[in-house]
């Protein structure tokens, strides 16, 4: 059951038990976007405030498994305070790690330097569990959706 421990690393369990940036920001000024994983019922509510090109604040609420919730928590830690471009860069790297790189990602076939992913690398074990990839990417897809809705 080694790969099970690879999936449920301590850092993931920690973010699951104690999610960072949990809750909803008031709308307005925040923008609010919902994400669903229709197959398992996971739901993410993402509220986000932009200041020019910077993600000033972001919170997530919702419910789901340890992978979807810890991934959301980890994501907020990575993107909060970052520029939108940096956030999109992190998103691309993460999706490449999850083997679901977008068609328009020019570096889709590049090897991933996991060290650059920081804490996100904790989710690396997920790729061995294809069904769970959707859990890990839910928050990121919801963020992408929010950015599209905000024309950012």
């Amino acid at each position: 059951m080694d790969d099970l421990e690879d999936l449920y690393r301590e850092i993931i369990l920690d973010h699951y038990r104690s999610p960072r940036n949990r809750g909803e920001l008031p709308t307005p000024p925040a923008h609010r976007t919902e994400g669903f994983n229709p197959l398992c019922g996971d739901e993410i509510v993402l509220t986000i405030v932009l200041d020019d090109d910077v993600i000033e604040d972001v919170k997530v609420d919702g419910h789901g498994c340890s992978i979807s919730q810890s991934s959301a928590s980890l994501m907020t830690g990575v993107v909060k305070g970052k520029s939108i471009d940096d956030a999109k860069g992190a998103m691309r790297s993460f999706k490449r790690m999850m083997t679901v790189a977008d068609e328009d990602d020019p570096d889709a076939d590049e090897p991933i330097d996991v060290r650059k992913l920081g804490e996100l690398a904790a989710l690396q074990g997920v790729v061995k569990f294809p069904v769970r990839i959707k859990c890990a990417t839910l928050a990121w897809n919801t963020l992408a959706q929010a950015l599209v809705e905000m024309d950012a």
């Binding site: 369990l13 699951y16 398992c40 996971d42 419910h63 789901g64 498994c65 340890s66 569990f129 769970r132």
Partner: protein, 411 residues
């Protein structure tokens, strides 16, 4: 009552011979899809190896044989559920979901309009909600819901009030999340007294307990073969002969017409009117074999077996885990089948199922296509345990071991 040996059933089911992660498979997901005995698999192979061609339109030997096999399946499914006129009442669809859509479109859309009332329950599967929501959107029908009690039973305290003025009650005959079996006969009588028709979602019941549509007093029943030891790709709509005969067609195409001109067509009689295109022929043969297999076990015995395991699971879960495992199901063995939903303190159903997988245990996490019920229960997801005639106590023991592991891991 004749009893069967579940080990013999296991022997008949090839899939139970495989291992997962090096372990015997503890398949506790029969409510999602059951495992097929070899007699079902072989009946279909034999069909393709000896008899296959299209039905209804050939005069040559194998066309006659294929047609006969297909129509025989109609009769054997009909007699299995006590249909008075199988030849006129059984429609083969692709699954229970299509059966509900067919009924909602052919009957509902032709009869119901603005403000007409369809009564559902909060424990329905999406298959028996979404088609009615679509009619609500398009035609303005009104939906009313019977609630669910804190004991996971249907709340019938306001039954007559809810039924007043309704055109249809469409209701599950056994919840795929709770295992609850509502008192169909009583609701059918109340529905008829209120001038409403009654349809049942028999997807979970038909392969797990004796079922007779006349005794139940219902007008329509929908179910799928793959939940009753049969193949994928085929479902059944049963409707009383006069009701079915009164319904306009749904899907249009070959096989459902009397005549087609450039500007109009005449539909054929039921049930062919509702079977457009080449039907699921091999699948009908497989379903007939599944019915034969179930009959050989005896449906009373199948139901008793499910309940025995349910009792064992309830007892062991309670004594071993106490409050750490919540069971979303009636706690007694009355009016229920072999399905129970679990939620663990601090462990999401998805994670539980993942850990269980490594123990060879197959359970399904999620909303089980019953999101309104999940909202009512106040839980985003459960891990559902469900039995089949091949299930045994050691499947449950494996489950208990896996739960222990998951609690330790996330605790």
């Amino acid at each position: 009552m004749k009893r069967f040996d579940p080990e013999r059933v296991r022997h008949d089911v090839p899939e139970l011979r495989r291992t997962v992660h090096g372990l015997e498979m503890a398949y506790l997901d029969s409510a999602a899809s059951s495992l097929a005995p070899s007699s079902v698999i072989e009946a279909m192979s034999r069909y393709y190896e000896r008899t296959h061609t299209n039905v209804h339109r050939g005069v040559y030997q194998i066309a006659e044989e294929a047609t006969e096999a297909y129509e025989l399946a109609r009769r054997s499914v009909g007699s299995f559920i006590g249909a008075p006129h199988p030849d006129k009442e059984i429609v083969f669809t692709k699954n229970a979901t299509e059966s509900f859509n067919l009924f909602a479109r052919a009957w509902g859309a032709s009869v119901l309009g603005e403000g007409d009332v369809v009564v559902l329950t909060e424990m329905e599967h999406h298959a028996n909600i979404v088609p009615w929501l679509q009619l609500k959107e398009e035609r303005g029908i009104e939906l009313r819901y019977l609630g669910v009690t804190d004991q996971f039973r249907l709340d019938l305290t306001r039954l007559d009030e809810t039924l007043a003025g309704a055109s249809l009650v469409s209701i599950t005959a056994m919840s795929n999340v709770l295992g609850t079996i509502p008192p169909i006969r009583r609701i059918a009588d109340a529905a008829h007294a209120a001038g409403a028709l009654i349809a049942i979602d028999a997807a979970q019941l038909v392969g797990h307990a004796p079922m007779d549509v006349v005794d139940l007093g219902v007008d329509v029943a929908c179910f799928s073969a793959h939940k009753m030891l049969g193949p994928t790709g085929i479902g059944v709509l049963w409707a009383r002969a006069e009701l079915l005969a009164s319904m306009p067609p749904f899907l249009g195409g070959g096989g459902m017409i009397l005549d087609v001109k450039l500007d109009s067509f005449k539909p054929a009689d039921a049930p062919h009117r509702f079977e457009a295109g080449t039907p699921p022929i091999a699948e009908a043969v497989g379903l007939a074999a599944a019915v034969r297999y179930l009959r050989s076990l005896g449906m009373d015995a199948v139901a008793a077996h499910d309940l025995e395991l349910t009792g064992y699971a309830l007892e062991r879960l309670g004594s071993q885990f106490g409050d750490k495992v919540r069971v979303y199901s009636p706690q007694d063995l009355v009016d229920r089948g072999g399905v129970l939903s679990l939620a663990l303190e601090g462990v999401h159903a998805h994670d539980l199922a993942q850990v269980l997988d490594r123990h060879g245990v197959c359970v399904r996490p999620g909303h089980h296509c019953a999101k309104p019920l999940m909202r009512r229960l106040g839980v985003p997801a459960t891990a559902r345990v469900s039995f089949g005639p091949y299930s045994v106590e050691r499947d449950i023991d494996a489950l208990l071991g896996g739960i222990e592991h998951a609690l330790g891991m996330f605790g």
